[in-house]
Every structure is written in C-alpha cells, then in structure tokens.
Amino acid sequence: MAVQPATHELSGAEMVIRALVDQGVDVVFGYPGGAVLPIYDALFKQNRLRHILVRHEQGAVHAAEGYARSSGKVGVVLVTSGPGATNAVTGLTDALMDSVPIVCLTGQVPTHLIGNDAFQEADTTGITRPCTKHNYLVKDVNDLARVIHEAFMIARTGRPGPVVVDLPKDMLFATGLYLPPETAPTRKSYRPQIKPPATRITGAAQLIMAAKKPLFYGGGGLINSGPRACALFSELVRLTGFPVTLTLMGLGAYPASDKQYLGLVGMHGTFESNNAMHDCDLMINIGARFDDRVTGKVAAFAPHSRKIHVDIDPSSINKNVGVDLAIVGDCAEVLAALIAELKAQVYKADPARIAPWWRQIETWRKRDCLRYVKSDTIIKPQYAIERLYALTRDRDVFITTEVGQHQMWAAQLFKFDKPFHWMTSGGLGTMGYGLPAAMGVQLAHPDALVVDIAGEASILMNIQEMSTVCQYRLPVKVFILNNQYMGMVRQWQELLHGGRYSESYTAALPDFVKLAEAFGAVGLRAEKPGEVDRIINEMIAVDRPVIVDVQVDPKENCFPMIPSGAAHNEMLLGPEDKQTSGPVSEEGMVLV
C-alpha cells in the first residue's frame, strides 16, 4: 500500500497500518481471526510492516517483549477478539510486571453486538484493565489514529508498560480522517515526572559523601531508561568506588566482569551481595522496586542502612520498604544530575573511608558461594551454563530464559557485560516465556546468537513456537537443562515439604531431539560432561533453529538461597547448610 496523503479518507484498517508505520514499527507479532480480518487485508496490500505469524497469542506477546527489551523499541501485537485477546492476557501481565513497552491491538465484535455474548466476544477492556498500563475501546473511527498514537506514547514513556487498543470490527471498515502522530492531541492528565527535584539531588550527594558502608542496588529501571542510564550508572559507580549489586531485571546494567560488581542480589543472589545489602549503611537503589524476592523478610531488611530510592514511578516509593530519600525521575536524568552535583562538590572517591567495608566484602567473596560439586559422570546444570558462557563470550550473545532453577543458574553464572542482552520473566515468573521471547530478540538482532536457556518443563508450555521459528528460519537455540523435574518446585518440596515430590516429576517427556526434527529444527543431546563442549559448539555452528537436550543431574539444587521468611544474613549456601539450619518458620511457609 502506498502511503496516502493525510487529508485522504482512510478505512479504520488502513489507519491502523498507517499509524503503526508512522510510529516506526517494522515488526508485528500476530494471529488472524474473524474480527481483525480487515487489518489482515490491509496488511496484505502493503510491504512496510513485517507480520510474524505466531502459533499462540501468548507467544505473540512474549515475542514482542523480547523484541522490545532487546531493542528499546515498542513491541507490537495484533490478535483477534475473544480467545485471541484472552490468550494474550498472560503476556500482558508479564509485560506490566516487568515494565515492557507493548502495544497490543485486539479485534472486537462490531459495536452493535458488544454486550450480546456474540461469537468470539469477550470484555477485553474489562479483562485487561488490571494487566495493562492503560487500555482503550475505540467507538469512533475518527478517534482511532489518535488513540493508537497515544497508546504508543503511554507504552514507551514514564514507567513503560503494555497498552491494549480494542478495535470493534465496524471501526475497521468505517472511514475517517487520519491524524499523523505530530498533530494528534496529547493527554493532559498524563505527565510522568522525568526531571528530579534539585534539592533531593543535593541530599543524595551528601549521603554518598558521608557513607562508610555504601552499596549500589541497580534494577530494571536502568535497562528501561536506556543505554545512557546504564553508562551513567557505571560512571557513578566507578566515580565513587562503591560496590554494586543488580537485580534479576537489572543484569547487564553494570559489567558483570568488573571487580566492583558483587553479583545478583536476592533469594538466589550471591553471599557477598546479600550480606552487603544486610550490613550496608547506605543503600542507593536506582530503578529497582524492593521486590519481595530481593528483600526477603522486610522487618530484617538492611536494618542499619539509610536508603535512597530513585524511581520514575512514585507508587514504587515506600511501597514495600520505607526509604529515607526518594527521588522521582528518570534514572538517566537523576544519574546525570547526581554526577554533576558530586563533581561540583569536587568529590573524589576516598578509598580509605570505605576500605574496611571492601575488606569485609572480600571475606564474603572468599566463600565462593556459587561453587558446586563437580562430576565426571553426570552433567551438573551449573557446569552446562558455565561452558555455554565460556564458549559464547566472544560473540554478541543474547540470552532468554524460562522460569525456574535454570533461570536462577543462568542469572548467577552467565556474566552480562552489556545491557539489553538478558531477557527473563522476573515479576510474573512466566514459564514458557523464553522461546517466544528469543524469537522476538532474533528478529530485532538477525545476526546475533540468541539462546533460550530452558528447563524441560517450561519449554513445553510454548513449544508450539518452534513452528514459528522454523517458518521464519530464525536460528534460535533452545538450550534445555533437562532434569526431568520442575526443578524449583522439587527443590522447595525437598526443603519445605519433607521431600514429598507431589506432581513435580514429568513422566513421559518427549524425545527432544526427535521433537526438534519433527518441527524441522536440529536436535542435539548431551548425556555426559565430556560431551557438553562439543554439543555447544555444534549448536553455535548450525545456522538453523536448534534444540539441545542437556541431561543434567536431577537432584541438583540452586544455592545460595534465602529461605522464605528469612533475612539476608540467613542464607543457605549449599546442601550441607540444610541440616544445620532449622526448619522454615510457619510464617515463611505461607510466603510464595
């Protein structure tokens, strides 16, 4: 479709295409159906937008998330009414929890049938209200273009998130005037606070200059803010010489191979990170949200610290943990202002002041908390990830994960030196996220190596997307750590429920090599530690989608671990810790 002048009347369906093109969209993840046929017809007549046909609408949203998180652009989804929209709900909730910018266009029955329980009708705006940043039902074709432009603006600005635009079928046939983005009116009630107040910056600088046991705690907000925020964060960390830890969503915001980096924080974080968090006298939280996976027992969380919290979302402040100094604003703006303030104060790092603190941290580091018992006969899952990292580190490698033990091992052991290379479902913990997300990443980065580190249980939740991957010849690699169990469920059952492994073992698993071949991909298997390197190299060498079935120790547990309801200095470091520490408190048992 040639792009027509704006004064020309367009059909609603043509407006949708035009608006997406004007918003700079190049890829749409979708699945057709009755209510969106006019949009598919308009798609057919143009060549500006590339449509990727997924196999399930949940896959479309996760693919858009992978695309968005690895590229910094808005991910776009197009699904039909009813089941198309309800299937997208898990993905939308995932995007809301992890602040991923998504615009999801859903078909809807024609306006005169809304409320009649029509075929494939669902109350999409009602269902998606709590799982979107905002949503719309378009009831006038002359609103359509404005609404789509506004949806993009809301999805990508402030704290990013998913936005749904519900499009009744009659709106797609109706004609009206198209408004380009620059002429569309803006929304008065929506004003995210980007610039931080100056007084708070001065206050933060003073706390930083006085701290003896400081710790930077960086989160996904740095990634969302963009490359500038990550670069400024690294600059500030180096300027101060302070130790730094990152959340699951923040990995890559500071180079993991740097000596000031203490590793992942939280439930499966490192001994040094969690102890530093517990003992610090100043915590500088940039773009993290004091998630319960990070804080553990709130009453015992960093009891001796003053806390600075930088977040673009005022509702994140004092939600879980009360803080001493809150700064609402975009991470990049706050960091730039803070660095300028410190330089204006002629601040110089004072290594002597924090030397005892670093000495303490080094003693924690010496515990080498991520060590595990190596084996010549059985593949340890940690070993498989270490080898994957070692054999891919010279490449531009993007990692996605599913959810469970493999996800935590990947977060602990794969070292990310750059942002936007790590895609995982953090807040919602959605099994089945990794494969479709990898698909989205590969589309944004066609020449990169994209690996989904998976578990054999999670991968089966969206395995149908192998068909999509093969259709578009996306050379995505699925690296399954196959322990035959839902490993994290099994681990909790071992530690908390007396070893009663209720329904956590998957009998009748498919033969993943044959499964790969059935889809038209390449299947590989490693059963012994000696085979791991060869299989990984083969996986990288093949320029096609690959499923690797790495058969790992089914009994291995993920340590360190803060048991639920415990404080940061009550970590379990390994199997030998289990016997010495008491059973988990009843209060802790009820926590997830």
Binding site: T125, G126, R129, P130, K133, H134, L137, I154, R187, K188, S189, Y190, D313, P314, S315, I317, N318, K319, G322, V323, D324
Partner: protein, 170 residues
C-alpha cells in the same frame, strides 16, 4: 523509617476525565490491591472540560494512604488526587432518604425526632414517611439509630461529598 501502624481515615477528591471505564479503573485499583472503600461518590462537575470528581473515603496506615494516592495518580485519566484530610480543613456532607413506617402511636414521636434533626418530610402516606436529611455521616448515623425502633424500613444514602474550606480550589 517504619511507618506507625495506626489506621487513619482519609477523604480524597479525585479529578478524572469523564470517559467510559474510569470508575471501573478506580474501583478495580481498590479491590485489586486490597484497599478499603468506606464511601465513594462520583458525578461530572466540569462539563466544559468533561471532568468528573470522585470523592473517596478510605482508611489505612500512613504508608497505605500514600500508596493509594500514588496508585490513583498512576491511572492515565486521573488529573489529580487531593487528600482533603491532609490538606487542611474541609466540609463533608451526605444526603440520606429514610423511610419510616409505624402505627398511630409512634407517628408523633417520629415527627418530633425528625424536627430535632432538621430532617425534611418529602413523602407521606397514612402508614409512612420519607425523610430527607443532609449532614455529616455521623449525624445521619445518629438519626437513623434513633429512628430504628420507630420502624425504619428502607434507607438510601449518597455517600460523602467533600470540599475544602476557604478560597483554594479543592
């Protein structure tokens, strides 16, 4: 900085775009996050700009109250949230319609009590009265409690509308 665990009652005025679904967004926020709604009223107050004012009476610890305001502000069609309880003195009023039935022996007493509370009779039959009464929630509660033994059969209340004292907006 642990917040004290005392539960406080707050009256808030929320200015929103008068568009479909906006009330559902506000109510859904309260139910989804487990906040308490004691009273909620809504009506368009600025037809020119298509703005409605929602008055919410809620309760919670200071940390929860702060959260409620932040979460309300996050809703896209919300223009502003004013915590009237915190911002200074304010007036709050509620209107109730109360239907009382009773035999001849209590009719005089019913009217006498209504008179004391300045309730207006808006409907009367040989068997019943409907009273209209405006005032604070507490005053309405007191009147209804006194009327109860005389034969209250039905009550309709509007919930609280509130506005700040003095010349400032809100």
């Amino acid at each position: 900085m642990a917040a004290p665990e005392t539960v406080e009652k707050h009256t808030m005025a929320v200015l929103v775009d008068n568009e479909p679904g906006v009330l559902a967004r506000v109510i859904g926020l309260f139910s989804g996050r487990g906040y308490n709604i004691e009273s909620l009223t809504v009506a368009e107050t600025d037809p020119k700009n298509k703005l409605s004012r929602i008055t919410i009476v809620t309760s919670g610890t200071p940390m929860i109250i702060e959260q409620i305001k932040a979460q309300l502000n996050r809703i896209v069609p919300v223009h502003g949230v004013h915590d009237l309880t915190e911002e200074g003195p304010f007036v709050e009023r509620e209107l109730a319609l109360i239907k009382v039935t009773g035999g001849a022996e209590s009719r005089a007493e019913t009217l006498r009590l209504a008179d004391i509370f300045h309730a207006r009779v808006v409907d009367t039959t040989p068997e019943s009265y409907v009273f209209e009464m405006t005032g604070s929630t507490e005053k309405l509660d007191a009147f209804i409690n006194l009327m109860e033994p005389l034969g209250v059969v039905d009550i309709s209340r509007t919930g609280v509308a509130a506005i700040s004292r003095g010349a400032d907006k809100f």
